[in-house]
């Protein structure tokens, strides 16, 4: 990774580099590990949720969206309907998810990526960018983050942290009882964990939809740069 590849392009740039979004290899690797870990956590978490919903409403996740194997098999073999496997996934992916997220955030802060790209962000810029985005008037420039993006990225980092901490307090309400107490006790921590997941899932829907609307961002997150992108794509919104 050479210096000019990792350095951030600011303001008017030479024609040859303009619009080229740069993601260092470490960020790309951690981004995709994070994506995989979160999908496993959500898929297994949905099956776990179904066994005893944290919310007092009659709602369950469709089984085909959940992770944990064919429960008719475990039912036949063990009289066990697929919870054990979902838990095994959840508590295995937990390590990948937490360690990777920790590294992601440390590198994000230490490299100055968050400071350069996600700050400053003020309410006025957020409202005006959001209004523009809703009218499909917000242009997307690769490598530059508008206020809506900045808020969403801070939001999802916060939601993941909240989900990890509430998850720990559900897993260890005795050994980490002070943490569980902070979340309002075992029962309420489950509700927090659920809404943390919901926030992450909500982010994922927007994040994936927008990356498909502006596919060059997806290319950038895979290859690190968009080789042919001389100009910001037209009509792309975020």
């Amino acid at each position: 990774m050479t210096a000019e590849v990792t350095s951030k392009v600011r303001g008017p740039a030479p024609a040859g580099v303009r619009g080229v979004q740069l993601h260092p290899l470490s960020r790309r690797i951690m981004h995709w590990i994070n994506a995989l870990a979160i999908i496993v956590m959500i898929g297994s978490g949905w099956r776990i949720y179904n066994y005893y919903p944290a919310l007092p409403i009659n709602f369950g996740f469709p089984l085909y969206l959940t992770l944990g194997g064919d429960f008719t098999v475990t039912e036949a073999l063990d009289d066990e309907d697929g919870l054990a496997n979902a838990l095994a996934w959840h508590f295995a992916a937990m390590w990948v998810s937490v360690i990777n997220f920790g590294a992601f955030v440390i590198v994000g802060f230490a490299s100055g990526h968050y400071r350069r790209d996600f700050l400053p962000v003020g309410p006025r810029a957020f409202v005006s960018d959001l209004w523009a985005a809703m009218r499909f008037k917000l242009d997307h420039t690769l490598g530059e983050y508008n206020a809506v993006q900045k808020v969403l990225y801070w939001g999802v980092l916060g939601a993941i942290l909240l989900t990890i901490l509430s998850g720990l307090s559900i897993w260890k309400p005795v050994q980490l009882k002070e943490l569980t107490w902070l979340f309002g006790g075992y029962e309420f921590a489950r509700v927090v964990h659920f809404f943390g997941m919901a926030a992450i899932a909500g982010f994922l829907v927007v994040h994936v939809a927008l990356s498909l609307l502006v596919p060059s961002t997806l290319v950038a997150m895979i290859l690190g740069r968009v080789p042919g992108a001389r100009h910001p794509p037209k009509g792309g919104t975020t």
């Binding site: 776990i48 949720y49 066994y51 005893y52 919903p53 944290a54 469709p62 089984l63 085909y64 969206l65 992770l67 944990g68 194997g69 064919d70 429960f71 008719t72 098999v73 475990t74 063990d78 009289d79 066990e80 309907d81 919870l83 054990a84 496997n85 838990l87 095994a88 996934w89 508590f91 295995a92 390590w95 260890k172 309400p173 005795v174 050994q175 009882k177 569980t180 107490w181 075992y186 029962e187 489950r190």
Partner: protein, 246 residues
């Protein structure tokens, strides 16, 4: 480990729900068009099993011998406490106080069996703690009985051994790591809510371990043994994490 909503639902609803689940599953199979879930691959199962054993070690490391489970007020106690086993309450063992004997085996010096009366005569500990089921439900209850650690010491168990195992009248079995067995809040609960432990809750006693999930709290215990060979357990042998700590 039976599900709460199934227990309370009338039979017809149970069947309807079951059919609905099966239909949903078929739909899922069609949607995925794979016919096999990655969870069911041998290699995946091996990795998940290895991670579960890793989690046993991580939890043993997190476990504090002196860390107490939170306790609650009398007013927090749930009085219509839930019956929970892998079969309906009508099939729950009804052990006779007169005929019952607690058998001891393994690394225990004095293996003479114990009667209900003898167990009840030991000094009691009371606790109001939260029972947390691996499924996610939890209930606060009050249990009393002798400390398992005191009992093990009294019968001359090898306290340096790794595991304490339990066999139960209903075919259930379970085991604890020695530090959890010796934890001050781990008791042989002979009472629930100040009354003799009802049959449906495990008469004559259940092992109450508030530092662990519900399935680590065996009921209707008929044999206690001490060993260095990992005994496993009913649900643990079916894929649930062995340590099951809270």
């Amino acid at each position: 480990m039976t599900r709460p909503n199934l227990e309370r639902a009338p039979l017809v609803q149970q069947i309807e729900r079951r059919l609905f689940l099966r239909q949903t599953l078929s739909l899922g199979a069609l949607t995925l068009l794979t016919g096999c879930d990655i969870s069911d691959q041998d290699g995946v199962q091996k990795v998940l099993h290895a991670m579960s054993r890793w989690n046993d070690r991580a939890q043993a490391f997190l476990f504090g011998r002196e860390t107490l489970a939170p306790t609650f007020a009398e007013s927090d106690v749930v009085h219509n406490f839930r019956y929970n086993a892998f079969y309906p309450v009508a099939d729950a063992p009804q052990l006779s106080a007169a005929d019952y004997r607690l058998e001891l085996s393994g690394l225990i010096a004095d293996k003479r069996p114990w009667t209900v009366e003898q167990i009840g005569a030991l000094a009691h500990e009371s606790q109001i703690t939260r029972h947390v089921c691996v499924e996610g439900w939890s209930m606060i209850g009050k249990w009393s009985g002798p400390r398992l650690g005191d009992f093990l010491q009294r019968v001359g168990a090898d306290l340096t051994a790794k595991y304490v195992g339990f066999q139960c009248a209903d075919g259930y079995s379970g085991s604890l790591d020695m530090p959890s067995a010796l934890h001050p809040q781990t008791i042989m609960a002979v009472k629930f809510a100040d009354e003799t432990l009802p049959s449906k809750f495990g008469f004559p006693f259940k092992i109450r371990v508030p530092t662990k999930l519900g399935y680590k709290n065996p009921k209707w215990v008929t044999t206690i043994f001490v060993t260095n060979r990992m005994p496993g357990g009913f649900w643990e042998d079916r894929g649930y994490n062995w340590f099951g700590g809270s």
